[in-house]
């Protein structure tokens, strides 16, 4: 492996393409940007050392076409491909195709990606690393089986409340929460009958019931020499349909012991996977129980990576490029000092008043306040086009301050001062969310936004 990359193909677009170009600028690496017909004149296209037009606007024939990406890298003499996030970033086939053509893939190998990306395999690895995975039982067909299964859960460290759920369906039919072990028999019978009537299949399974969940994730960086470091955790519980609306770090009000356990679990998992590169390990934190279970691994740089960059001072994309060249991480775990608090919001070109309908178009006005600790990652400017062909992320605003309250306050000031016209954005919703007493008191749970705030 070389000890530095000479020329990187950036196989992405929008703000993350600019972010990668920036890291390449810092590392002194030449850049080639793979562009679709829609992006030939983007800011990133202007800033890359050169561009290759790989296909039409449709992503299937451009940013999602593995052969075209690899061909573009070969045609332009690139020694590496950075996939960004989304698109092909977690497709092991791209990592494989790069390897076959002696191109460095900036990310884990195809094999590691397969192990990390497959939920079942990742859970097995996590279990092996001693990380709780909050498993569900096998389908239960009788009261006796159910009683036995619950007893086993409680014997092996599980705790109430647990939940019975219908194997065949959802929507609350055949569902029952067990708060007292003595209830299991009666609850099984009722739910079993309900499931039989509703779905013609009375089988149920037992699963941990989490009334109040938080989405907490840990930023990992690992090099090819076996070193794995974390940059602390992030909380992304403010979600709508699994889309993150507000991200922040470190995860607020997490008991120190729990936070340390989660971070060390993430590092152990990455070590167990033989992980190389930047990645995120996602956990569900059970607020009532005060514990956590493993959810999944994201084997890529994430949209919200700047949150961890702001609090750690470490440039995650530069580290990705170093690691891809075979270099060790530029820091050790002891060097990682988390300073203050950072909040990120995604400005999406969507209309929150019309069910988050995407609003592509030309941005006619774009002005955002500048300030210390205010970072804006974006391709937007007055006159910039939000293409209908791709996702609706226009900008990320990250605010960093000594405390969570100050960071949130700063974000509110930035969003209030934003002057954007030509597209509708999610800012009004984000502003309203940031200003709720619930969010300010924080942390909220994953159901808060949809079930309490938006429903109310």
């Amino acid at each position: 492996m070389p000890d530095r990359l000479n020329r990187v193909l950036v196989a992405n677009r929008g703000e993350i393409a600019l972010r990668i170009l920036r890291a390449c600028f810092d590392e002194g690496i030449e850049t080639v940007l793979a562009v679709s017909q829609a992006d030939v004149d983007s800011q990133a296209a202007q800033l890359a050392d050169r561009t290759v037009l790989i296909g039409p606007a449709a992503a299937g024939q451009s940013y999602l076409a593995i052969d075209r990406i690899v061909q573009a890298a070969l045609s332009t003499g690139c020694d590496a491909v950075h996939p960004g996030y989304g698109f092909l970033s977690e497709r092991p086939e791209l990592a494989d195709a790069c390897a076959e053509n002696d191109i460095i893939f900036v990310g884990p190998s195809g094999d590691i990606m397969r192990r990390a990306g497959d939920k079942m395999t990742a859970r097995e690895v996590a279990e092996k690393a001693g990380i709780p995975i909050g498993g569900r039982s096998t389908p239960l067909t009788s009261r006796a089986e159910a009683e036995e299964a619950l007893a086993e859960v409680l014997d092996t460290g599980g705790s109430l409340p647990m939940m019975l759920k219908a194997s065949a369906g959802g929507g609350g039919r055949g569902m029952s929460i067990i708060r007292d072990a003595a209830e299991i028999g009666a609850r099984f019978d009722t739910a079993h009958r309900e499931a039989e009537q509703a779905f013609g299949d009375g089988r149920l399974y037992l699963e941990r019931y989490v009334a109040k969940a938080r989405h907490v994730e840990v930023q990992i960086l690992a090099d090819a020499h076996g070193t794995v470091c974390h940059l602390g955790d992030r909380d992304c519980s403010t979600q709508r349909r699994h889309q993150k609306l507000v991200e922040e770090g470190p995860a607020p009000d997490l008991p120190t012991a729990l936070s340390e356990e989660i971070r060390s679990a993430a590092v152990r998992l990455a070590e167990e996977l033989g992980y190389v590169g930047a990645g995120t390990v996602e956990f569900l934190v059970d607020v009532d129980r005060g514990d956590f279970v493993f959810l999944e691994v994201n084997a890529r740089v994430q949209v919200e990576h700047p949150v961890s960059e702001m609090v750690s001072g470490i440039d995650i994309v530069r580290e990705q490029l170093r690691v891809a060249a075979g270099l060790p991480l530029s820091f050790t775990q002891a060097d990682v000092v988390l300073d203050g608090h950072a909040v990120e919001i995604r400005i999406n070109a969507e209309d929150p008043e019309r069910n988050f309908l995407p609003t592509p178009g030309t941005i006619t006005r774009w002005a955002l306040p500048q300030g210390t600790g205010v970072r804006i990652d974006t391709f937007a400017h007055p006159g910039a086009v939000v293409s209908p062909f791709y996702d609706s992320l226009v900008a990320k605003v990250i605010c960093h301050a000594p405390t969570r309250a100050e960071a949130v306050e700063k974000m509110i000031k930035v969003l209030r001062g934003a002057r954007i016209e030509g597209i509708k954005t999610t800012i009004p919703l984000q502003l309203a969310v940031l200003e709720t007493p619930e969010f300010r008191a924080g942390p909220v749970t994953t159901r808060w936004l949809e079930e309490e705030y938006l429903d109310a």
């Binding site: 030939v40 202007q46 790989i54 076409a65 061909q71 045609s75």
Partner: protein, 174 residues
């Protein structure tokens, strides 16, 4: 070179004596807009697109690319120079141009050493292969969608092409 007030006065005089009901004059930062006989003065500023006034065929410059080679490549591409320039039958603007369907490598013949699919002067029918664009060992035949005579073959054999790179020009049969 902004207009002086005197200049503006002269322009206004000219307009005043004219028969126009609406007018707009923009010189650098100066914009004069007038209207009369119930017609408002032309609307102002802000818009980026320039209206196409078909009557005068104002050559409204498209922001991006009407040109054949749509790649934006600030650095000179290493492979841009055609190795073997083809004799050209001076293709005209009316000729039909077939372009690359993908980034890839352009092959003029079905296999090394074989004669090229087409040369300048070849006649082609609809569906005839005129070349191949290879993407990672996948061979994409590029076929003529008009019948006619080849007036140009743009890339050299084995040249790297991008999506939309012109490959051949065909003068359609009359």
């Amino acid at each position: 070179m902004p207009l002086t007030p005197d200049d503006i006065g002269r322009v206004l005089d000219a307009l005043d004596k004219s028969s126009w009901d609406q007018a707009e004059i923009v010189v650098d930062d100066v914009r004069i807009a007038v209207g009369r006989n119930d017609l408002p003065a032309p609307g102002a500023a802000g818009a980026v697109a320039v209206a196409n006034a078909p009557a005068l065929a104002a050559p409204a410059p498209a922001p991006a690319a009407a040109a054949p080679a749509p790649a934006v490549a600030p650095a000179a591409p290493a492979h841009a120079a055609p190795a073997e320039p083809q004799p050209q039958d001076t293709p005209s603007a009316d000729d039909h141009v077939l372009t690359a369907p993908s980034v890839g490598v352009f092959w003029r013949s079905p296999s090394p050493g074989a004669p090229p699919f087409v040369e300048v002067g070849s006649t082609v029918a609809v569906g005839d292969t005129i070349g191949i664009v290879e993407v990672m060992k996948l061979m994409n035949n590029v076929v003529a969608d008009v019948a006619g005579t080849v007036t140009a073959v743009f890339p050299a054999n084995a040249e790297h092409v991008e999506f939309g790179t012109p490959l051949v020009a065909i003068r359609p049969d009359a």
